[in-house]
């Protein structure tokens, strides 16, 4: 996707986020506590920031139409959505399983599944590596550093 289209997409997303936060600021709890803040409600500073955030979104959106703005050092990375749609749920499931299943089993499975996805397909190497890394990480955290992992 060309950068000026990405800029439009990004500024539209940012502007929508601003609207959500502006809407949130309309809730009574933000204005009911003015006296506690000695005249300044808790929404004062966020409101200033949101105006600035929205203004930047609009300026970026508008400048994306300008031809001269194409001559910038603006170069984003290219991403393959297919890989992201596999990777993000995998991390999500891993995060969900850490607590109920335990660190060792969940990490072991995560690493064994992750490595082929990241381009390393030699299972004879990746399985022992995952096992050694998982157990040694667990040992360092629980026994050496005293941080409990599930």
């Amino acid at each position: 996707m060309p950068m000026h289209i990405r800029n439009r997409l990004m500024s539209a997303v940012m502007f929508l986020i601003c609207i959500v936060f502006f809407y949130e600021l309309r809730r009574p709890k933000y204005s009911a506590s003015v006296f506690l803040g000695q005249g300044f409600d808790p929404a004062m500073f966020p409101r200033i920031l949101l105006w600035a955030w929205a203004a930047f979104s609009i300026v970026i959106f508008l400048t994306s139409f300008s031809q001269k703005n194409r001559f910038t050092a603006d170069q984003g990375i290219d991403i393959k959505i297919a890989k992201i749609t596999i990777f993000v749920p995998l991390v999500l499931i891993y995060g969900l399983l850490i607590q109920p299943v335990g660190f060792i089993i969940s990490t072991l499975f995560f690493m064994i599944l992750f490595m082929p996805l990241a381009g390393y397909t030699r299972l004879l190497v990746s399985i022992p590596t995952a096992l050694v890394f998982t157990v040694s990480t667990w040992w360092i955290f629980t026994s050496v550093l005293g941080i409990s992992l599930p």
């Binding site: 990405r6 990004m10 936060f21 709890k29 933000y30 506590s33 506690l36 803040g37 000695q38 005249g39 300044f40 808790p42 929404a43 500073f45 966020p46 920031l49 949101l50 600035a52 955030w53 930047f56 979104s57 300026v59 970026i60 400048t63 001269k68 001559f71 910038t72 050092a73 603006d74 170069q75 984003g76 990375i77 290219d78 991403i79 393959k80 959505i81 890989k83 992201i84 990777f87 991390v91 999500l92 995060g95 850490i98 995560f110 690493m111 992750f114 490595m115 990241a118 381009g119 390393y120 190497v125 995952a130 890394f133 990480t137 360092i140 955290f141 550093l145 005293g146 941080i147 992992l149």
Partner: protein, 506 residues
Amino acid sequence: MENVFLAVDLLFDFNVAIAILAGVIFGMIMGVLPGLGSILAITIALPFTFAMDPVPSIALVLAIYCSSVYGGSVSAILINTPGTPQSAATMLDGYPMTLRGEASEALGWATVASLFGGLVSIVVLVIAAPQLARIALQFGPIETFSLICMALTCIAAVSTGTMLKGLMAGIIGIFLSLIGTDPMTGVPRFDFGFFQLSGGLGLVPVLVGLFALAEVLSRMSSGKTVPIQVNEKIGLGIKIAPLSEWLLRKGTLIKSSLIGTFIGILPGTGAATASFVAYAEAKRSGKFKENFGKGEPEGIIASESSNNAVTGGALVPTLALGIPGDPSTAVLMSVLIIQGIQPGARLFVDSGDLMMAVFLALLICNLVMFVIGFYGCRFATKVLSMPEGMLLAMVTVMSLVGAYGVNGRTFDVFVALGAGVFGLFLRYCSVPVAPVIIGFVLGASLEESLRQGLILNDGNFLSFFHFNNPIALVLIIMTISLIILAGWREWSLTRQLKTDAKPNGE
């Protein structure tokens, strides 16, 4: 003097020794690997600091910080790929030396110059930081607000070429820091009904997500898993040139170290800028300037002494004012905050022994880095042949353990993942990520000082710019000047790119 003895006592600990040794080795390995760098190295090490005492945890992070900058030079010299952007200038003369069969000599020049630069910056840090802190002790909320505004201008400096986006990213960072209970009224802000958000977004999950997970995601999705070819014959050891050769280049060594230290103190500039500025200066005034780019050791000296000198320089505003000098020190500052240490002027009054311990730890880190670099940098290159898929899996697990380990909450893992996806989106749209972290670290203090200042002045914001507050006024003028300077730089860069594009018919 009492503080020195107390600091030595704090450092004379087995845990500190292990932390420094492990930090130097880990930092060097992370520095050698192209594209990972100091920020990611410190971020991955964050979970290890949770259970540590303050001194070993700070020593660990300082060791990683120094050695990762040095590690970048090893791959720059041996494989013509800088491990970190800070070492890009080293490559210009380092790799030609490798091609001539002088890799060991090039590594020797880089190692000694890095040590020298690091030591010079420590001297400046020891002298300048307490003086700066003494001045900062007189600061009230208005001065603090002005100072943070000035520090935020570093956002513009780290966003060259994409300044508008960088400024917006800074605002997003400040905004994210406001999520959670308002300290003045007790009202939970932007929690959207999630009680876990009432305590705010954790610094570690946000850091881990924006830097480490976003990096993993971007590498995964780009599919760039080309193995790096390392010539086995080139990493055979280090040779240090005789003193007479060093004396011929002493001017560049001293000048570049001072340039690096000074640039490190300036907000938002960083080691990459320092190394190129020092390299350009050495090319202009060096004794062997005509050999630059053909494998001249003076070029390596300029780049390496300056980029390592930045480490001490950047710590001056971080420790004395609580204002990070660059994105790496913003992450480093988070380690102090996790340890319950609030960087700033009071630190030198309340914990003088701790500060002295930090200075001495930095000194030891540099010396250990020299020894490990001397004997071990040839082994560090072995890491380059590690498959990227394996490395990314390990980085992901360490990052998530870091996010989970702060409070033992699964929710923080999701915050990290959310921050990772957000970080990837920002990279996709060419929005710099470092300003988000700088804003996130400084946001709460900015709001607090603004509100306190307004209460003290009956809500009159114009009093912030009054002659009654001369320090604040000077800081605000400096802030405006820095913004104008950054805007001018941005404008000239755009113009330059436009001129370069014209001959191609665009």
